[in-house]
């Protein structure tokens, strides 16, 4: 089973994946590649930030070996992380790079897990930084295009995981992490309760379309998360959820 890890430009896809490999972990450990190797590959020391994924590069398949501590014990999963440049969603990029686009679309078509990383919209953010992000209306419209993408380009998808990233910008991550936390020996919240909580609190402008995705196809589940590189617990949750299904 493949997971495709997607999102628009600058939503923080690469940084999230890199931080997942950080050895200071709780229940999810990236066995390979190790954090330093990944950091060397993806982090730009001079700017102290993650390098943007090169739009001119081939669609990159990075194998990740992940170990998650689930209710039934330790489970290893192998993930084909398809790291895509954010530009792939732009029509002109698709026209200029038909071979790369087809290769990407083909990979997506075969994937059973879709992990979509989203930026927050302005209404959630403090005014000082809000202008760098889409308005709520733009955000909702963009999501509608994602729905079309799921419907027409992801025929094998069984799990759609929506991650509203940069949670540290719009909520108190420690409080939310404590509430949503996963404990292998018994969590306060079930996956359903976590989904409902996050959906109603942070995804409410697109709650209806999200619910419709799950209702339209048998066996397709949608699960909402908030993520941040500053909260290990929130960062791990989508992977623990997916590991329940992907563990072999």
């Amino acid at each position: 089973m493949g997971i495709v890890y997607i999102g628009d430009r600058s939503v923080g896809k690469t940084h999230l994946a890199m931080e997942l490999a950080n050895p200071k972990n709780e229940h999810v450990k990236v066995l390979s590649p190790d954090y330093e190797a990944l950091k060397g590959m993806l982090f730009d020391d001079t700017t102290a930030s993650v390098k943007p994924t090169d739009a001119a590069r081939e669609v990159d398949l990075r194998p990740l070996e992940i170990q998650a501590k689930l209710a039934s014990g330790l489970k290893s999963i192998e993930v084909k992380w398809v790291d895509t440049p954010g530009e792939v969603w732009r029509e002109h990029w698709q026209k200029d790079n038909p071979d790369k686009w087809h290769k990407f679309a083909d990979t997506v078509r075969k994937s059973e897990g879709i992990l979509l990383v989203l930026n927050p919209h302005r209404s959630l953010l403090p005014t000082s930084i809000a202008s760098e992000y889409p308005t709520q209306e733009q955000w909702c419209k963009r999501f509608q295009r994602w729905i079309d993408f799921f419907r027409y380009d992801c025929p094998k998808a069984k799990h759609i995981v929506l991650c509203l990233n940069k949670a540290d910008l719009f909520c108190k991550v420690e409080q939310e992490a404590a509430k949503l936390a996963f404990h292998p020996n018994g969590s306060e919240m079930t996956w359903r309760n976590r989904h409902i909580y996050v959906l109603q609190k942070y995804f409410h402008p697109i709650q209806q379309p999200i619910e419709q995705i799950g209702q339209s196809t048998t066996g397709l589940s949608v699960q909402c998360f908030i993520t941040s590189i500053h909260s290990r617990s929130l960062l791990e949750l989508p992977w623990i959820y997916l590991a329940n299904y992907l563990a072999r």
Binding site: A71, K158, S221, A247
Partner: protein, 276 residues
Amino acid sequence: MGNIRIIGERGVGKTTYLAALAYWSDKRRKGKKVRNIKLQALNDDTRELAEKAENILLEGASLEPTGLTGGIDLLPFYSFGLEVKPWFQNPFQKPELINVAVRDYPGEVFESLADTSAFRPIHQEFIDECLVKDIDGCLILLSEWEQGNDKRTSRAIGKFIELMDKNDRIRDLRLAIAISKCERGELWSGRLEPDVDLFERHLPQTKAVLEESPIPAKNRRFYAISTFGVLSRTDPRPNRIYIGKNSILREPKKWQPHGLLDPLYWLSKGKGMGYV
């Protein structure tokens, strides 16, 4: 050894039924007594399914559907050991030991029986495997009982009976026909006598097709199954929440299935569990 196949439309709960069996057979549920029967998971596929039940169902999510991809060869094989002790302790009577091997087919296979235009070679592969001589019985799970579904279901079952006949299995393949998700309010009270209170009332055409077929009466039985059960003896609300076409446990800690073992035992042995 009982060799059993499970068929039914998509979403009737075939894999969830097996996951519940696998979970309740797991040694970690020592505290829970299932009458005087011990159930044990015998192979990796079954243990993996038990883990999925623990990681997914008990954590408030739903299992993935079984896909057609890969055909019959890639379908998991679940294997259980049943140890049935006599109801009255008798030091001279040994417990009865039965091994049961089960596979559940993708829902499309059963659906294609009702709509012959949708019947494809890949469906045939599954049907062929289901009707070979070493299969003891087949559990047919049905979940839709509202008006209009009886006609479609009876058509699918009629077609299946026709295929049994063609494959020379009409007189020696046991059929357990069960309504699943019986925790639903309209069905729960009918679970004790499902042939009269569920099938005759809600699926009369389907029942008639079975009873009028050449299948010997001793080789067909009607059952009521509830994989998720109700919240408690005094709170008979379904322990199930529907989310679109999937469903999850409403209160995982109160999970108590109903009627899981009876059809498997009967399909394997050709006699009921009434005496245990």
